[in-house]
Structures are given as structure tokens and as C-alpha cells.
């Protein structure tokens, strides 16, 4: 049975701290095993996407609005991150930069982290004009991001 939680945020300044607090707060009631690897991978993928939004997204004159939905049955996690920014060409970026080429890169690994962590990854424009990152992740996976050393 799928269990779902949803949280809304409107301040980019403390967004990262508030989201991480959810993962460390027992009463947040996240539908994720409390100590499993998957919990940390979900947290990492969400962090990387929020970091991308905070650093690069354009919200124009709108007050930022971020909605995080996590749905899981314990074995499979589905996550949606909706935002009211002008959007981002994630699919184009991943297509033009499919792998990490540089040894010990200092920047540009965030989207690769997300892709490596996730089973399915998609980014769409919603009917109301917002954008949505969708990813799924499964328990008992051992994902690997190939970084040249």
C-alpha cells in the first residue's frame, strides 16, 4: 500500500535546512524505512535538485513555491518536486552531457548524482505552468556513478 506525504515551502533561504529536518525528525512520518540506504539516497537526490533550484532557477517576481511529495510502499519510492520557476532544460542538459568526462571534477556533478541514484527520472511542465521533477527509486539497489579517477 502506498503512503504519501506532502510538504510546501516558500522560502529558498532555509529550504535545505527545513527539508533535511524532515528526514531527521521522527514525527515527520516519512514513508521511508528509518535507517535504510534508500532513505539517504532519496534525501540526497532531493537535496541535489533543491540545490539546483536555489542556485540556478529563475522565479521572476513570483514568491518561490516548492512542493515536495514523497510516496512509497517501503520498497519503491516515487518523488515529485514541483516549483513555480521558469523551468530548466533538464532533459537537454542530460542528453548533451551524458557522463562525467573530467577526472576529479569540482563542479557539474549534481544532475549526474540524481540520475545515478534514481531508477526513473523525468521533468515536465504542468498544466498550471509549474514544473515537476519526478523520480523513482527502489530498495536494495546499489547505484553507481562513474567518475574518472
Amino acid at each position: 500500500m502506498m503512503k504519501e506525504v506532502r510538504y510546501c515551502f516558500d522560502n529558498l533561504e532555509d529550504l535545505i535546512d527545513r527539508v533535511h529536518a524532515l528526514f531527521s525528525r521522527p514525527d515527520a512520518d516519512l514513508p521511508l524505512p528509518p535507517e535504510g540506504e534508500m532513505r539517504y539516497r532519496v534525501q540526497l537526490a532531493i537535496h541535489e535538485w533543491l540545490a539546483n533550484l536555489i542556485q540556478h532557477a529563475r522565479f521572476g517576481n513570483r514568491r518561490p513555491s516548492i512542493e515536495l511529495t514523497i510516496r512509497s510502499n517501503g520498497d519503491l519510492v516515487e518523488c515529485f518536486i514541483d516549483d513555480n520557476s521558469e523551468g530548466f532544460d533538464l532533459n537537454g542538459r542530460l542528453k548533451s552531457n551524458p557522463s562525467i568526462q573530467e577526472a576529479f571534477p569540482e563542479r557539474g556533478m549534481g544532475l549526474h548524482f540524481i540520475r545515478a541514484c534514481t531508477r526513473e527520472l523525468n521533468y515536465v511542465r504542468l498544466k498550471d505552468g509549474r514544473h515537476r521533477l519526478i523520480f523513482t527509486m527502489a530498495k536494495d539497489e546499489d547505484p553507481w556513478l562513474d567518475i574518472p579517477f
Binding site: I16, H20, L44, A51, Q55, F104, G110
Partner: protein, 120 residues
């Protein structure tokens, strides 16, 4: 980008060539530049071995790992080492994802890391 909610790093000099950097709550896009500046200062003083203490760390992201790569690029030509100590579960997930255990040796404690570096 600096965020005051992210704790600063603490540096403990063990000897002329080795320091422990206690990472604190996070090493991420908010404080990676500060981490690089602290490391740069130590490298300029002649330090070449860095023990990174992750015992309290809940967040290591791609930018934080990039800052560690930057440090590694600086010290490896000087036969220096970057090693990880007391790696927390969230940090271990990043290490496992990126297979960086092939580059950065891990130790259960700062003391164990210090002992290994002394024997090297």
C-alpha cells in the same frame, strides 16, 4: 554562497604535515567555498595530509565532494593524502554511489587515521 545555519569547520593541527578537519553538519554548496579556502590556507603552510572527520555530518553533496576532489588534486602531487574518518551513514551513501573509497581511505576514527598516516 554562505549559509549561517551551516556550522563552520574546525581545524586541528596534528603535526607540521597533518591536520584534522572536522566537517560538522554539512559540506555542501553552501559552504564548499569556505572549506576550499581553509584547505588552501593549510596547504600553503605545508600541510599535505588531511583527515576529514565526518562523524557529525548529515549532508555531503556533489559540490562538497567536488571541493574534496579539489583538495586531493592539490596534495596528491606532493605525496599527500586525503582520508576519511568516522564516516556517517549519509556520507557513506555518497562514497558508495561515487566509489570514492577507491581514492580516499576510510578509518573508523580520527585516531586510527592518524596512526595509519604516521606509519606511511
Amino acid at each position: 554562497m554562505h549559509n549561517p545555519s551551516v556550522m563552520s569547520f574546525t581545524v586541528e593541527l596534528l603535526n607540521a604535515e597533518t591536520v584534522v578537519i572536522r566537517i560538522g553538519k554539512a559540506l555542501d554548496f553552501r559552504n564548499a567555498a569556505e572549506f576550499k579556502a581553509i584547505c588552501q590556507e593549510q596547504v600553503q603552510k605545508g600541510v599535505r595530509n588531511f583527515i576529514l572527520d565526518f562523524s557529525e555530518t548529515g549532508i555531503l553533496d556533489s559540490t562538497g565532494l567536488g571541493a574534496i576532489f579539489s583538495l586531493y588534486r592539490q596534495v596528491s602531487p606532493r605525496n599527500g593524502q586525503v582520508v576519511f574518518a568516522s564516516v556517517s551513514r549519509p556520507v557513506q551513501v555518497v562514497v558508495q554511489l561515487t566509489r570514492t573509497y577507491k581514492v580516499f581511505r576510510q578509518f573508523p576514527s580520527v585516531e586510527a587515521a592518524q596512526e595509519a598516516l604516521q606509519q606511511a
